[in-house]
């Protein structure tokens, strides 16, 4: 009698199914109640004009979506999301990669610098937002203080729509580049040394080694890092609220802070749900598309 027949017979006789019926339901139930059902309900509520009390009975079809797509602040929030994604990819990722290249090898202070760069990532977004609300405060903040010390007068960064957006970008890079740096360090440490030696023997200079060995070898990490950046921007909220609250003049909203200010605080459940549904569609489309076309081999 072999081991496999025992296992098979147990499986066939329902031992495995019985076990699955013990192990699986708690997680499935919790996940369904608090994650999947609300998404379905969001889709349903989004067709109603509803304040959250009694039952939704005022069916208005696609009106929530139409007024959402017409809303100038929502358009601004979508534009802001695209700007943040663009800056994340063109400033944050190269910075993270540069720091990773400087810190991947064991060298003087490498571990200490890695920890310092990573530290903002473990701090709450809310705290980071508030810290920078202070840093950029026109009356009490060090940035404005520095400008005054240099004779330029105070800067009220958070009071100007365009400068407030810059402030938001600074906080995001400050908070997240260390995380991406750690991803790249992990990737760099996985590269086979002999590839560099081979390239060097073939006469490749430092830049060529970077271009033709490091970058291709890191490609899966870079794809992962891009994925996290984009997904992270879609859910950006905690940093925005303490820093700008979406202001001034609703200029620094993200999709989630728009949802919060225009849907939740006003208890417009139907309208807010339509924002959630649009966000859901964007996220799922991106995640599926990205995995299908770019991360196929991993």
């Amino acid at each position: 009698m072999t081991v496999t027949t025992i296992r098979d017979s147990r499986g066939a006789s329902g031992g495995m199914i019985a076990a699955a019926l013990i192990f699986l339901p708690p997680a499935l139930l919790l996940f369904t109640i608090f994650v999947i059902l609300p998404i379905g309900e969001a889709a349903w509520y989004s067709f109603y004009n509803w304040n959250g009390f009694n039952r939704p009975d005022n069916f208005i079809g696609l009106k929530n979506y139409i007024s959402l797509l017409d809303n100038p602040y929502f358009k601004k929030a979508v534009l802001n999301t695209l700007i943040i994604i663009a800056v994340s990819l063109t400033v944050q990722l190269p910075l993270a990669l540069a720091m990773a290249l400087l810190l991947a090898k064991r060298a003087f202070g490498a571990v200490a610098f890695r920890l310092i760069f990573f530290m903002p990532y473990i701090l709450a977004d809310v705290a980071a937002g508030l810290i920078f609300r202070f840093m950029f405060d026109g009356d009490y903040g060090p940035v404005s203080g520095l400008s005054q010390a240099l004779g330029f007068g105070p800067i009220y960064m958070l009071a100007s729509p365009s400068l407030a957006m810059v402030a938001l970008l600074v906080v995001i890079i400050w908070k997240y580049f260390g995380f991406h740096m750690m991803l790249f360090i992990a990737g760099l440490q996985g590269i086979d040394r002999s590839l560099y030696e081979a390239a060097e023997i073939d006469g490749a200079g430092a830049f060529q080694r970077f271009r033709f060995v490091t970058i291709p070898q890191l490609s899966s990490m870079i794809k992962l890092s891009v994925f996290f950046s984009v997904i992270g921007v879609f859910q950006l909220f905690d940093v925005v609220m303490p820093l700008t609250g979406g202001g001034p003049f609703n200029a620094t909203h993200t999709m989630v802070s728009f949802l919060y200010i225009f849907g939740i605080t006003r208890m417009r459940v139907g309208f807010g749900s339509s924002v959630g549904v649009v966000l859901f569609i964007i996220c799922v489309t991106f995640a599926f598309g990205y995995r299908r076309f770019l991360m196929r081999d991993e």
């Binding site: 609300p38 998404i39 969001a42 810290i131 404005s144």
Partner: protein, 297 residues
């Protein structure tokens, strides 16, 4: 000349050459590297230090002397907060919520991951894909229906009303990480255990879990950090200030003392202090946990 030699030389020699070249006193790269790193590090650290120091100033001095050290260190700001019930309460609330969230997430996800990794049953692939759907969208997408759901369950404004939805959202990531790890365990172990008359539940408790401690602690760390820092879900689901976890408590404090920056700064400093202390003490585990979690997920 030495350049050419290095290229022509076998790799071992090339490496030795390169090393000797890096150690030449005229090579400016290490200095350049250190300068760049110091600049970036100071940009990272200055906001934190400025915040902590700001908490030691009086409001007037904060305005008159925003860059320098305080002329007179005002311990009163910090003392007032440390002696207030409010500070300890928000930290206590966060700790309670985070611990229970971790306990639920880890236990439920480990059970589900065991089923997905070790058991064969109809619908396994479908159910696994279903669970990992949670990785694709943020909690914010369904936050309004979630509010209504929690309200209708009678859990609004209770710790459980925050813990259960948070745990539900972290499940997807946890199940994915744990299933991948459990699949690596040799299947001969399970076969042998079953021959010996050990059931699936005992096998799970006495073999799978003890063998998977590293990945379980990774999941626990990720979940704890997320829960400790979470803001949106408790913001929507809690009303009573005595139940607030610290990110909410911090915002409430800021709303109350908006004009007293020195107090707000001291409060921020004290509320992020636990995270910084734990990070410094357990940095290796935390960094490894958070990055490994991301890479494997």
């Amino acid at each position: 000349m030495s350049e050419q030699l290095a290229i022509a030389a076998p790799s071992g020699l090339a490496r030795a050459r390169r090393r000797s070249r890096e150690q030449k006193p005229f090579d400016l790269f290490p200095l350049f590297r250190l300068a760049v790193l110091l600049v970036v590090a100071s940009i990272v650290v200055v906001p934190l230090i400025a915040t902590a120091i700001g908490g030691f100033k009086e409001l007037g001095e904060l305005r008159a002397n925003p860059l320098g050290l305080p002329h007179e260190w005002q311990w009163a700001n910090y003392r007032e907060i440390l002696e207030s019930q409010r500070y300890w309460r928000v930290l206590g609330n966060s700790l309670l919520i985070a611990c229970l969230t971790v306990a639920i997430t880890v236990s439920l996800s480990a059970m589900a991951a065991f089923a997905f990794a070790q058991l064969k049953f109809f619908g396994r692939r479908f159910l696994f894909t279903y669970m990992t759907l949670g990785l694709m969208f943020p909690a914010a997408t369904a936050i309004l229906p979630l509010f209504i759901q929690v309200r209708d369950l009678g859990l609004l404004d209770t710790p459980w009303g925050v813990i259960l939805p948070q745990a539900a959202f972290y499940l997807a990531m946890a199940v994915l990480l744990l299933r991948n790890a459990f699949r690596e365990l040799p299947s001969e172990l399970l076969d042998a255990a079953l021959v010996d008359g050990c059931g699936y539940v005992r096998y799970f408790l006495y073999v799978t879990l003890p063998l998977s401690r590293p990945i379980l602690s990774t999941v626990a760390i990720i979940t704890f950090v997320h829960s400790w820092n979470s803001y949106l879900v408790p913001l929507i689901l809690l009303n009573t200030e005595t139940l607030y976890p610290w990110p909410l408590g911090l915002m409430a404090y800021q709303g109350e003392y908006m004009t007293d920056w020195q107090l707000v700064l001291a409060f921020v400093t004290l509320t992020i202090l636990p995270a910084i202390i734990v990070f410094v003490l357990a940095q290796r585990h935390i960094v490894a946990g958070l990055t490994a979690g991301a890479v494997k997920g």
